[in-house]
């Protein structure tokens, strides 16, 4: 009896894991507010990035303010490989990162270990 129960619960948990991690889920997306020829977005780093997708306006100087709230060393750096940016994110400290918005396109950013990803869209 216990064995049947364990099997059922086990399979249910596997099903949940697959749905939760691999299923389609909405990704938070934020467009920057432009004011006085500048745009900025606050990004909270806690078990990933929120928002995970950021839309910036082309040609307007942009700043992304990263604040890491997560103690994990996985997230202690943020890397924008297309821009040559690799910044340390001290915990609970706002770290401003300037982005060159002169070229439109889609760019990835990632944590120092390339486990967590975010997307930057410049248009």
């Amino acid at each position: 009896m216990a064995k049947i129960l364990v099997s059922i619960v086990g399979l249910a948990v596997i099903g949940f894991i697959v749905w939760w991690f691999f299923g389609k889920h909405e990704v938070s997306e934020v467009s920057a507010d432009v004011s006085n020829n500048a745009q900025s977005v606050d990004v909270e780093v806690n078990g990933g990035y929120s928002p995970e997708t950021i839309v910036l306006k082309k040609g307007v100087p942009a700043t992304l303010n990263f604040t890491r709230k997560d103690k994990s060393s996985c997230l202690d750096r943020v890397v924008f490989s297309d821009f040559g940016i690799n910044e340390a994110l001290p915990i609970n400290q706002k770290e401003a990162i300037k982005i060159d918005t002169s070229k439109s396109g889609e760019y990835q950013w990632a944590c120092g270990m390339d486990m967590f990803h975010g997307k930057l869209i410049i248009k």
């Binding site: 364990v6 099997s7 596997i14 894991i17 490989s81 690799n86």
Partner: protein
């Protein structure tokens, strides 16, 4: 709380349990038994493990998972089961939760240090800059900070001081140690009119120079910027790990559940031992090693090459180098010194030289400047010219004293006459590796100017190094076939493609790409398209900005031997990336089944503690292997066995 502190706390509270484990066979037991273990482990869980749990939960809510998810689930499972086991008087394994936490944190402490080691190299370059400089202001020399220097300032540099910014010497001579920027170990002597580079060290003389580039425009700043970009670039090989890392952790969780089910339901193991196998699976899996394999090696490899004066622009170039079969060289300025000199003049020397100078003096072609320089040294009177006209790919023509005069290369010969005696002289000169310029009046050649551009004295060695590596070498030049052949023979190049129009260079590179990947080495504006088309474009640092912009690798020192070093370093770095990835994959592929107890039948199994230790050291070993790239020997000459 820092990782280091968390590590020490968990280590201190784990030690009594370690003693218990080791001394148990000798009859010693931890006073208080399970209760002491519970208290010790609870402290570790509350202080050292909670951050893993927090991070795991935060990413869970975002449908993500990471390393911390695995550590959190592994430790909490062991901890909670042990409490349950204690209540129902069964065997506990609190120490698993405690030891796993300690080992994982130990690994992270080392790893953090190593990662900082890997990334700091370039930031140190910026510290090389001088802090202040003596600058001429209102007729007096005053000491001002680096940031206040502007273009045009006259700056004095005394022996032992650092040159503040890039500029040109206006007064004085000295020798300068430029090794920090160019990697060139020999000091370079400099006189008025020579360029100096910011951050280099003046050794014996005092000189004044005019600032030409300041702030972010200086060579050092540009190099730092370039290297930073390279270090953080993405290598194509990483696309694989990107995909794997997305599904890694959930997959491991599923495997762990299956492990538990198989042991408990099908093999009839007890809850406790089934659970231990499942926890070991969760704890041994290490996605970090996969994620760290490429970026850390890329960072160390590109940083080290920058110190040698070889700037590799990104991971893509690094990867492409690996398959290069052919290296194509531009001739002038790449294989040769790029400062041609007039060696022979055939015909009426004064007349030939004056006509040639009149037509060439406004040209920037290196051959033209050789002619003009020669005329200046002989005080030749230069006549007036009018109706100046270029003959595409052949030369120039103009009116001098009412006569049509022309100067150009041997492609002109199809349109004009030349007598046999001159024709023979042309062949002799060309076979001596001299470029022949024809000077004519009214459709008839009246004289020849032979110009020679000697190969750099390092070119021969550079080519033989590349050949020893098994690469095919080709010279691509706009020069005459005989001249090109003669130079090729001097430096030992395999084959020559001569008489190439500047606009056709890229097409020739494309054609050669049919037989495999090619690298193109060049320096001029006309090389830019070829540098872009080639799989690996290698630009000489002395070259034009546009060439440097187009190249994937820049050789700051301008030494052709660096082509071989660049290839060697790129290969070494890429091989290290492959080794890291292989190790990270194999580790997980072998580790997970062992932890799951597949080899239990032959007596091979892993406790969660050992699994945690293995996990900690797998990512540490990957980072260490990358940092060791700094020490790896670069053999610039591959000998055949």
């Amino acid at each position: 709380m820092s990782i280091t502190k968390r590590f020490w706390i968990s280590l201190i509270f784990s030690l009594p349990m370690l003693a218990n484990m080791i001394l148990m066979p000798f009859g010693w037991m931890l006073p208080g038994g399970n209760w002491t273990q519970l208290i010790l482990t609870t402290v570790i869980m509350a202080v050292s493990t909670v951050p893993f749990w927090q991070s795991a939960w935060a990413s869970f809510t975002k449908h993500h998972s990471n390393m911390d998810t695995l550590v959190a689930i592994g430790t909490v499972t062991a901890y909670i089961y042990s409490i349950y086991a204690m209540a129902t008087h069964q065997a506990v394994f609190f120490e698993s939760a405690a030891f796993v936490t300690t080992f994982v944190l130990l690994g992270q402490v080392f790893e953090e240090r190593m990662r900082n080691n890997a990334s700091n190299a370039v930031e140190k370059l910026v510290d090389l800059q001088a802090k202040d400089a003596e600058v001429m202001r209102e007729g007096k020399l005053v000491k001002i900070p680096l940031s206040e220097i502007v273009v045009g300032d006259i700056i004095r540099v005394k022996p032992g001081q650092k040159v503040a910014v890039d500029g040109v010497i206006t007064e004085g001579t000295s020798t300068i140690d430029e090794s920090m920027v160019t990697g060139e170990s020999m000091p370079v002597s400099k006189k008025t009119g020579d360029k100096v580079i910011g951050s280099t060290i003046n050794s014996n003389g005092t000189f004044m120079f005019r600032a030409e580039k300041v702030g972010n425009d200086t060579m050092l700043s540009q190099i730092v910027e370039l290297v930073k970009k390279a270090q953080n670039s993405h290598a194509p090989i990483q696309n694989l790990t990107d995909k794997v890392s997305d599904i890694f952790v959930p997959t491991v969780l599923v495997i762990a559940i299956l492990t538990f089910m198989v042991w408990y339901v099908f093999l009839g193991a007890s809850v406790a031992s089934s659970l231990i196998f499942a926890v070991a699976v969760v704890v041994i899996a290490c996605p970090c090693a996969l994620g760290l394999a490429t970026p850390t090696a890329l960072m160390v490899g590109t940083g080290r090459s920058a110190k040698m004066g070889i700037l590799i622009k990104n991971g893509e170039v690094l990867e492409a180098v690996n398959d290069v079969k052919t290296v194509i060289f531009d001739k002038t300025g790449t294989i040769t010194v790029g400062k041609p000199e007039v060696t022979d003049i055939v015909g009426d020397e004064e007349k030939v030289l004056s006509f040639a100078t009149a037509l060439e003096q406004s040209s920037e072609h290196p051959l033209a400047s050789a002619i003009v320089k020669n005329a200046e040294s002989k005080n030749i009177v230069v006549p007036e010219v009018s109706q100046f006209k270029a003959i595409e790919g052949k030369g120039v023509e103009a009116l001098v004293d009412g006569q049509k005069v022309f100067v150009g290369n041997d492609k002109l010969l199809s349109d004009v006459q030349i007598d046999n005696k001159l024709r023979e002289q042309v062949i002799t000169l060309q076979e001596e590796a001299k470029t022949v310029v024809f000077v004519g009046v009214n459709n008839e050649i009246i004289g020849l100017i032979a110009i020679q551009d000697t190969p750099k004295n390092t070119s021969k060695e550079a080519i033989s190094d590349l050949k020893a590596r098994g690469l095919k070498t080709i010279m691509l030049t706009g020069d005459n076939k005989r001249v090109a052949d003669a130079i090729a023979a001097q430096v030992g190049i395999d084959s020559v493609i001569a008489d190439v129009l500047p606009s056709d260079k890229a097409d020739h590179v494309k054609a050669l790409q049919q037989d495999g990947k090619v690298a193109f080495v060049g320096d001029g504006i006309n090389d830019a398209p070829a540098l872009t088309v080639a799989d690996v474009g290698i630009a000489m640092g002395s070259g034009t900005d546009i060439a440097i912009e187009s190249g994937g690798i820049v050789l700051v020192k301008n030494d052709l031997r660096d082509v071989d070093r660049a290839l060697a370093l790129s290969k070494k770095t890429f091989n290290r990336i492959k080794l890291n990835l292989f190790w990270a994959f194999i580790y997980n592929v072998l580790g997970i089944p062992v932890a799951a107890g597949i080899f239990y039948g032959i007596g091979l199994s892993l406790s969660p503690e050992l699994a945690g230790l293995a996990m900690a050291f797998s990512s540490l070993s990957v980072v260490t292997s990358s940092v060791l790239l700094n020490k790896a020997k670069i053999t610039s000459r591959v000998k055949f066995a």
